[in-house]
């Protein structure tokens, strides 16, 4: 088990962005779906040890992120792509990835080959020495993915990774997810339902800070059958059905 979250909560002032999430994940690819404001980003931030939880416990990679030493160990084995990733315009792609590889405490002799592998893996091999300010949005996203995978993480957290990628690139990206999902826990947060269907073994649906569905994509599709919920694709219908059900339950309370 790489991720064990128990009643994880995060409040900002009075709002509860994450309201008691329980999650267990071993190796594999997990999708995190939900509408905007559901708390996906805050949950991901807590797993990336960027945000401390208000209450609840988390065990990441078998360690407690509350203490400094274990947190550093977790971060060495962590790959994180935030929703908005700024970049240093004067850096080249290779410099950027190398910079973060070093900041992840990678042994220096392993760094050049790992950086080259990450850059080639995301398909930017012909732009390795291009300055970041010359790249398009989709390419910058791929640079972000490259820095996340450079240290071969055991826990890979990606927040909206496919923003700006065209369909062909998304196909290749899903293959990358499957590759990593063999050994590591990959958690992909997205609001694009079709991203999830192809690559993920399990899907969690979040709404208003809680997980309202957890299962396989097929199970999610099954939830949408016969309910007449909105959606163009079966998975989307399942998504709408679950959300409607969850909200009516909350409204009834």
């Amino acid at each position: 088990m790489n991720v064990e979250l128990t009643e994880l909560t995060r409040k900002f002032g009075r709002t509860r962005a994450v309201a008691g999430v329980n999650l267990e994940a071993g190796p594999g690819v997990f999708g995190l779906l939900g509408p905007n404001g559901a708390g996906k980003t805050s949950l991901l931030r807590m797993m990336a040890t960027v945000l401390p939880p208000t209450s609840g416990t988390a065990r990441l990679l078998g360690r407690d992120p509350g203490a400094y030493g274990p947190r550093r160990e977790i971060r060495r084995r962590l790959g994180y792509l935030p929703q908005t990733l700024g970049y240093y315009p004067g850096f080249t792609v290779a410099e950027f990835v190398e910079y973060f590889a070093l900041l992840k405490d990678m042994p220096p002799q392993q760094v050049p080959r790992a950086v080259a592998a990450a850059i080639e893996h995301v398909g930017l091999g012909d732009r390795a020495r291009a300055k970041l300010r010359t790249l398009s949005g989709g390419m910058l996203r791929r640079v972000g993915i490259a820095q996340a995978i450079v240290n071969e993480p055991e826990l890979l957290l990606l927040d909206e990774p496919t923003a700006g990628l065209d369909p062909e690139q998304r196909v290749a990206f899903r293959a990358l997810l499957r590759d990593f999902g063999q050994q590591a826990t990959v958690i992909v947060s997205t609001h694009l339902v079709e991203d999830v269907g192809a690559a993920c073994t399990e899907v969690a649906l979040m709404d208003a800070g809680k997980i309202v569905f957890y299962g396989t994509p097929d199970e999610l599709t099954a939830r949408g059958e016969g309910t007449g919920a909105a959606g163009d694709a079966p998975l989307e219908r399942g998504y709408s059905a679950v959300l409607t059900a969850a909200r009516s339950v909350t409204a009834a309370r």
Binding site: H121, G123, L124, D126, R127, R133, L176
Partner: protein
């Protein structure tokens, strides 16, 4: 006031406006500094008007910063075109669309990145006047000489294309002499040597130059490993080179094997003729008798065998100065 203006100078030189090249930033910073110094000295010369001067100085300083910031932001929004070396004249820069899986196969990008990288080149638009597309993107259409020249200029994408084209056959040649793991190391050293030494290439036979570097690296490796690893020296150096160095000889052997395989299957007429005449060192008459053909046939077969081997050696093989046979 001096302090404020000086702070402005340092601010300008700083990275808050990162899109300007470093030299230009430095110049701007220097200019602002000199201006500040000049104002400072003039103020001193006018006498000590502290308070009002300080207020005025602050206003001037802040105004300067705002003004230059506006100018710089405007300049950053209209970046100058990237300075690229002039296009080597020659073939039409239409990228050849490979029908095979693109280099980055199942990776993030397929043709998409190359499409994005070659915005104006589709359908041969690249000859439009004022074409801003950097020629470097057309590396697939560049020939080997141009690629190596690009590598000499520090173009790593050209090196990548060079690798894609030539690594396979270089690996094949080396595999004849070395075990697989060592082929990988030697090939890596070869291309690093290409990266460092591309400046010394004279246009001619790119394949030969590459193989020459690979040979040297392989010979280095073989020498380091000691005599136990060396293969037997080549029997005959068909290209006339004296195989004094056993390591070089081992490589000549690989070249030889490649050339001999061009003669056709074992037992075939050309190959058998070659073997009898050159390996077993028989005379034309003896060969004619052994093979049951006339002497003239033997001679023409031998001639054909030599021609085939020469052609095989020249194809991606060194063209020596003076043009060997």
């Amino acid at each position: 006031m001096f302090a404020l203006a000086a702070t402005c100078a340092v601010l300008l030189a700083g990275p808050s406006r990162p899109r300007l090249p470093g030299a230009l930033r430095l110049l701007l910073g220097l200019g602002a500094v000199l201006l500040a110094a000049a104002v400072g000295t003039s103020m001193v010369g006018l006498g000590y008007h502290y308070f009002t001067d300080i207020v005025a100085g602050a206003v001037v300083g802040i105004g300067m910063v705002l003004l230059t910031a506006l100018v710089i932001d405007w300049a950053a929004a209209h970046p100058p075109p990237a300075r690229r070396p002039p296009r080597i004249p020659g073939d039409a820069p239409v990228p050849s669309r490979r029908d095979h899986q693109s280099m980055t196969g199942h990776l993030i990008t397929g043709e998409a990145s190359r499409r994005a990288a070659v915005p104006a080149a589709q359908g041969g638009d690249a000859r439009l006047p004022g074409n801003r597309m950097p020629p470097e993107r057309n590396r697939e259409a560049m020939d080997d000489d141009e690629l190596i020249a690009a590598v000499a200029r520090g173009d790593d994408v050209a090196l990548r294309e060079l690798f894609r084209r030539h690594a396979p056959w270089l690996a094949g040649r080396l595999r004849g002499v070395l075990p697989a793991a060592e082929v990988e190391d030697v090939l890596q050293e070869t291309f690093l040597a290409v990266w460092r030494g591309a400046g010394g290439y004279r246009p001619g036979s790119a394949g030969g130059w590459l193989w020459g570097i690979a040979r040297r690296q392989a010979a280095l490796w073989l020498r380091r490993r000691g005599p136990a690893e060396l293969l037997l020296p080549a029997l005959i150096a068909v290209d006339g080179r004296d195989p004094g160095d056993p390591a070089e000889a081992a490589l000549s052997r690989a070249e030889l094997a490649h050339a001999v395989s061009a003669l056709g299957p074992e037992g075939g007429a050309a190959r058998e003729t070659w073997r009898l005449m050159y390996v077993e060192d028989k005379t034309v008459a003896e060969v004619a008798e052994l093979m049951g053909v006339s002497a003239g046939t033997v001679k023409s077969r031998a001639h054909r065998a030599r021609r085939l081997m020469r052609a095989a050696l020249r194809h991606r093989a060194p063209a020596r100065q003076g043009g060997g046979r």
